[in-house]
Subunit: 245 residues, 2 copies
């Protein structure tokens, strides 16, 4: 079998002091991980940094150079601590200012509601010059894509809506297939035979996840790969090694 | 007022394909963030990397050089994909092998239960030469501290128990005080006055977190700082700017 084309790779960069201080539990990494897995895009790394210009610029540069896609979450709202758009512009040396297309979207939105289009709201129309807007059907203020970086809101329902707007623009790979086998034995009694099985299937990933239920130890084995025939064959071998009791 | 001593800094490194594939939702970052905030240690960065030697070694080196403490989560169990201990040893150029102290803990544990101390279980006694063990009261297999890196299990209840074992060895800073003020108005109408207030209190952090409840937009303002008098004064100004309706 010839080597398959590797899947596109991705990273997520979560921006926000509220995550690092423990005030807010991030939900976007887990959501994006699931969506990318369905698309056959391999999420390789996640980072969380604070609302700090140097930290954001450095992380955007490092991740955009290393992976096919970078998805950012947070810091594009109307307040003084929303500095993501400026930092992403700075990371690529692209000028940023209020852009007519983004301003028009927001102006129409506020006019329709009889709400003031004030200076803080205008801040959400600040978009780097060469970026493409990402539609936000929830609260209109757009995200944007510049080079391989997709800049999105941190509020989970808006983040999810923006992911849905970006997905049609992405080229996926081979979706990862995954099967789980539950063994009612502790992980340390499963590890030996499992390691030998994994060595025979170098193209598959075999993860072992211990759990405790009703005081008894058990292990879920997850076999993942893009080749369904291989996944099936390994699952059958696993069932022979560890018959259900 | 003289500049206060800055708080110690920290990062968390979460290791595991199961987090990046979306199979498992990480719980340890959020837990550690809360614990460190109570101690006055500033969590500055979080990373998630896959079960890949190069990725783990590079992340350990980068984070341990940049922050006072690094806490790792995951990859120290008995199976073939548990490579964290070897990678942390490699990151510091320290030899690793089965260590007598760790082996003795595990041998006693399995002997007391009449369980076999097999090869997979022995793997959990692999500890870098110069490391100090971290006690694991849940399932005995220890974590370890080497230089400024604390290596802990990924299973949440074991991670939490190991954090409790490490905490007494850490020197904390000034705990961050935090107060929240709820404003029943959209964030974009709060942003202007809030930005001006934040500019007058450069030592405080003022975060703004929009929410929707029963179809209406609101904003929680969180004022954080180590100086309680300043936090109080800013909260009073905030209440004058945005009286409760």
């Amino acid at each position: 079998m010839s080597a398959p084309t590797p899947n596109p790779t991705a990273a997520i960069l979560i921006i926000g002091d509220e995550i690092l201080s423990g005030r807010t539990r991030d939900a976007n990494m887990y959501y994006l991980a699931g969506e990318l897995t369905k698309l056959g895009i391999d999420l390789k790394e996640a980072r969380v940094v604070s609302d700090d210009k140097d930290a954001i610029v450095a992380a955007v540069r490092a991740l955009s150079g290393r992976y096919d896609h970078v998805f950012t979450s947070g810091g594009i709202g109307p307040t003084h601590d929303d500095i993501t758009a400026d930092c992403v512009g700075a990371a690529f040396g692209v000028a940023i200012g209020v852009r007519d297309d983004a301003r028009a979207l927001l102006a129409a939105h506020y006019a329709a509601r009889g709400a003031e289009f004030n200076e803080a709201r205008l801040r959400m129309a600040r978009i780097p010059d060469t970026a493409t807007l990402i539609e936000n059907p929830v609260s209109i203020a757009p995200g944007f894509t510049i080079q391989n970086v997709h800049v999105m809101a941190g509020v989970p329902n808006i983040f999810q809506a923006m992911v849905a707007s970006v997905v049609p623009t992405l080229t996926g790979g081979s979706p990862l297939l995954s099967q789980t086998y539950r063994i009612d034995r502790p992980e340390s009694t499963v590890a030996g035979p499992l390691g030998a099985l994994a060595a025979r299937y170098p193209d598959l990933s075999m993860g072992s996840y211990p759990f405790t239920r009703d005081g008894a130890f058990g292990t879920n084995i997850v076999i993942r790969g893009v080749n369904g025939t291989d996944v099936e064959a390994a699952m059958i071998e696993l069932a022979v090694l560890f018959p259900q009791e």
